[in-house]
C-alpha cells in the first residue's frame, strides 16, 4: 500500500471557471460609516463586481448555523478573493446575485489553497 502526499492545490483557477458554475455578481463591501441622531449608524459601502461559484447551502451546513437562520435562504459561495463577515470594526459583505441580496454570515478562509468559502443569508432589499 502506498501513501501519496498531496500538496495543497491552488484552486484560484477553478473559482473563475464557468464550467464549474462560476459567475459574476456584485460585492458591496462596508467602509467606515458615520453616526447621526445620537448613535444611529449610517453604513457606507463600496461596490464592485467579483466572480465565484454560488450554490444553495446543504441541509447539513444549515443545520450547523444558529437556529434563527434555518428558515432563511442561505447560499454557499466560493470565491478567489476574500469574503468578509461582520466584526467589531465593520459590517459583513453584501452580495447581489440575480437581483437578490445576501449578507455574509460565516466565512471559511483558505487563502493558501486560493479560495474563500462563505455562507450568506438572503434578505429582501429595497428595489431601486
Amino acid at each position: 500500500m502506498s501513501t501519496a502526499v498531496v500538496d495543497a492545490q491552488d484552486m484560484t483557477e477553478l473559482m473563475t471557471d464557468p464550467e464549474l458554475g462560476s459567475r459574476v455578481f456584485t460585492l458591496r463591501r462596508s467602509k467606515p460609516g458615520t453616526f447621526a441622531e445620537e448613535g444611529v449608524h449610517q453604513p457606507a459601502f463600496d461596490e464592485r463586481q467579483m466572480q465565484g461559484i454560488v450554490q444553495p447551502a446543504t441541509a447539513r451546513e444549515i443545520e450547523l448555523m444558529a437556529e434563527g437562520e434555518h428558515l432563511d435562504k442561505v447560499i454557499a459561495v466560493w470565491a478567489p478573493e476574500e469574503l468578509r463577515c461582520g466584526d467589531g470594526n465593520r459590517l459583513g459583505d453584501v452580495l447581489v446575485i440575480d437581483r437578490e441580496t445576501f449578507r455574509v454570515i460565516k466565512c471559511e478562509p483558505w487563502p493558501q489553497a486560493g479560495y474563500w468559502r462563505a455562507f450568506a443569508m438572503g434578505f429582501i432589499a429595497e428595489q431601486p
Binding site: 453616526f35 441622531e37 448613535g39 444611529v40 449608524h41 467589531g88 459590517l91
Partner: protein, 201 residues
C-alpha cells in the same frame, strides 16, 4: 394635517442623549439597541437604549388652540396624553485589557448601570430631563448580566428607567369664514323682497 409630538425613535434619541450626558460618555457610544453596527474591540465600552413599553395614563386633556395668534384660521384641536415610557438601558464591556488584548474580568458595565440609576437624581440630571420633556418616575435596580461573546465573558449591566412624557396630538379644525344669508320678506299682495348678505366670522 394631524401631527403627534413623539415618535419612539425621537424618544429613544432623547433618552440616549440623556444617558450620554449623565454618564459623560463620548459621542455616539450610546446607541439604539438591536442595531447592525460595528462596536469596536472587547474593551471599547458602549451602551444601548431600547424603549420597551409606552403606556397611556388616565384620560387625555382636550383643548382648542391657535397655532398662530394672528391667524384665526390656525385653530387646532389639541389632545395631550400623559404616557408612561419604560426604557431598558444596557451598558457593555469593561475598559481594562489583559496582556492578550482580551477584556479582563470586571464588573465595570454593571457598575455603570448602578451609577446611572444614582446619577439620574442629581439636580443637573433633573434639569437635563426637564429640558428634554422627560419626567423621571422610577429607576429599577441594576442587573448584572454578563454574557459570553467572542470566546470571553463580556461585562454587562442593565436597568429599566421609567419616564412620563406628554404626547400632544393636534388636528386642524375647519373654520367657517363666511355664511351667506338670504332673507325674503313679503306682505300680502306685495312682491317678495329679497335681501342677501354675508356674515363673516
Amino acid at each position: 394635517m394631524i401631527t403627534s409630538a413623539w415618535t419612539t425613535d425621537e424618544l429613544g434619541a432623547a433618552i440616549r442623549s440623556l444617558v450620554r450626558v449623565v454618564m459623560d460618555l463620548p459621542e455616539n457610544t450610546v446607541r439604539p439597541a438591536n442595531q447592525l453596527a460595528p462596536t469596536g474591540d472587547q474593551v471599547t465600552e458602549f451602551a444601548t437604549v431600547n424603549v420597551i413599553m409606552t403606556d397611556p395614563i388616565g384620560q387625555p386633556s382636550r383643548a382648542v388652540d391657535q397655532t398662530d395668534p394672528d391667524d384665526e384660521l390656525s385653530t387646532v384641536e389639541a389632545i395631550e396624553v400623559p404616557i408612561k415610557v419604560v426604557a431598558s438601558v444596557n451598558f457593555y464591556r469593561s475598559p481594562i485589557a489583559d496582556p492578550t488584548g482580551a477584556a479582563r474580568h470586571s464588573s465595570a458595565a454593571f457598575d455603570r448601570a448602578v451609577q446611572f440609576g444614582q446619577r439620574l437624581h442629581l439636580s443637573s440630571s433633573i434639569e437635563t430631563m426637564a429640558r428634554m420633556g422627560l419626567c423621571l418616575t422610577d429607576v429599577s435596580g441594576a442587573r448584572n448580566i454578563p454574557a459570553v461573546v467572542d470566546a470571553n465573558w463580556e461585562s454587562r449591566g442593565q436597568l429599566d428607567v421609567t419616564f412620563q412624557v406628554i404626547a400632544r396630538t393636534t388636528a386642524p379644525i375647519r373654520t367657517i369664514t363666511t355664511v351667506p344669508l338670504t332673507t325674503q320678506v313679503q306682505s300680502s299682495g306685495d312682491a317678495i323682497d329679497t335681501t342677501t348678505t354675508e356674515v363673516t366670522s
